[in-house]
Amino acid sequence: MTKSSRRFNIDRDVAPWTGATRPYDIAKEVAICFLVIGLLTVGLSVLFSSPDDPAVTLKQWAVSTPIDFATTAATELDGTGGTAGYGPPYNTAADGPMVLGISPAKIAGVHIPVDAAKDFVLSPVAALPENPVASQAIATYEAASVEQRQTWAANYDAAVTASTVTTAGGKVIVAPGDYGPVATIVDQLVAMAQSGALDTTMLTQQRFFSTDFTKPLLFISDGSFLANKAAIDHLQGDQWGMMNETGSWPGQAWLWLYTMWYQVPGLSTSDNADLQVFLIIIGLTLLLAFLPFIPGLRSIPRWTRVYKVIWKDHYRNM
């Protein structure tokens, strides 16, 4: 067997230990650690419990802020809503974030098809039982040309975001205008959501048993209701929200480095921030993983001399 040799590198190699040993009881150490962690866990749980803010429903949204709900429905119809213009993996309305002209999302393609107008607004209203007003409005809308639908939806979108919009008994009142059946459709959807029927309908669009909340979550996140509630709990992206938790409980503090990049000028306003930050984190993680092989970086422990504190007894006894 041939043996090669290489020059000793203090940041990579060690001389075999030939010094003294000391008694050690690994079983005892592990047992004590379990006891300490167990007691700490129980103590912290008794003292501080854990947060549990109930999930927000479409009903709560429509009852609390019907104008925001109606506005969001209008944007799904005219294509300016968050999901309607999202791109992959939901639709082809956009390319998704890019770096160096490459969009990984576009390459991956549309795998979770979502038609915002149909899935969030038209299908639920069309499913209203024994409701000739809703049926007639849907029929009129679907019989119209794409351009005509767009005009009605855009007109209603402008009206529902105007300062003149009001509510009466939970119903959204907009100034008279050329909205075609859109105003009726949105009114029906608002009423449906306020009754709680929309929560059920959107969940069971696919089948009786469902654990997939993609569509209702996309719809509710397109409005301001969820985001406003999150802002109160300092959970927004510009509030370092990724590492926060509702109330004063600690959240995912280990995501501080990921969250930090979203606060950096340039990235905080970039349309491609999600992909850029992800790539930065991937790069930093690879650097950390392969640090033993990177000259300079692997010397930092020796330069900082923290090891002298860790092994102070050893060096004192040398």
């Binding site: 040799s5 050690y24 962690i37 866990t41 419990s49 795998h111 969820l226 990724m242 995501l255 060096y315």
Partner: protein
């Protein structure tokens, strides 16, 4: 010369295991004298916290994902799950920084370091899917925000953070298996290679056999 004994896979596997991990190395009762600092405890504390996380997670899994919302016992178990996760990450990060400042990759221990980093990353993924599985406002908000990061990589096509059922399965099966496997491998490497010795203050230079 090949013998009949060498062709027995089971016997060869056993001998390789016995050679790599003799009982006194797997469960040592002595350590080099330099292993004398509180920083060394954080590896075992991380393991202990992982044990509590797993035990409380098992209870939550047995009772179902929404049990803890309407049961005071369930809420307490959930609190234990949360706090043991916080302790797990605290101990793990201290352990990681301690090993960094010891340059613990020295002496053919690079794979030990890498598996440690991988277990940290997989643990973050496990905790993240746990936050998505709470079935409350927190999980709603985290899911709607996180989707943009995942989708931007193209990963959203197969890893849909808005799909509660998918995230729950990742959280209670796939990722825990991943964490468990990588942690076991990491610990075996630690037992195999031993604890890294201190830097030689004399700056000794010598040839290293490869």
């Amino acid at each position: 010369m090949t013998t009949a004994t060498d062709k027995n896979w089971t016997r060869s596997l056993r001998k390789a295991g016995e050679s790599a991990f003799p009982p006194e190395r797997l469960l040592p009762d002595t350590q080099p004298s330099y292993v004398a600092s509180w920083i060394y405890v954080f590896g075992a504390l991380t393991m202990a916290a992982l044990g509590v996380v797993t035990a409380t997670g098992l209870v939550l899994a047995v009772m179902g994902p929404t049990w803890w919302h309407h049961s005071s016992t369930g809420h307490f178990i959930n609190s234990m799950h949360l706090w043991s996760v916080e302790l797990f990450f605290f101990a793990m990060v201290v352990h990681l920084w301690g090993k960094f400042f010891m340059a613990a990759w020295r002496g053919n221990r690079a794979l030990t370091w890498i598996t440690g980093v991988v277990s940290f990353v997989v643990s973050i993924g496990t905790a993240f899917t746990g936050y998505l599985s709470q079935t409350n406002f927190d999980s709603q908000w985290i899911a709607t925000q996180a989707k943009d990061g995942i989708n931007s990589t193209g990963g959203g096509a197969v890893f849909n953070v808005l799909n509660f059922g998918q995230m729950l399965m990742w959280h209670i099966t796939l990722l825990p298996i991943g964490v468990g496997a990588i942690v076991v491998f990491h610990v075996l490497l630690v037992r195999r290679r031993g604890v890294v010795p201190p830097f030689e203050l004399s700056g000794a230079k010598e040839e290293v056999a490869q």
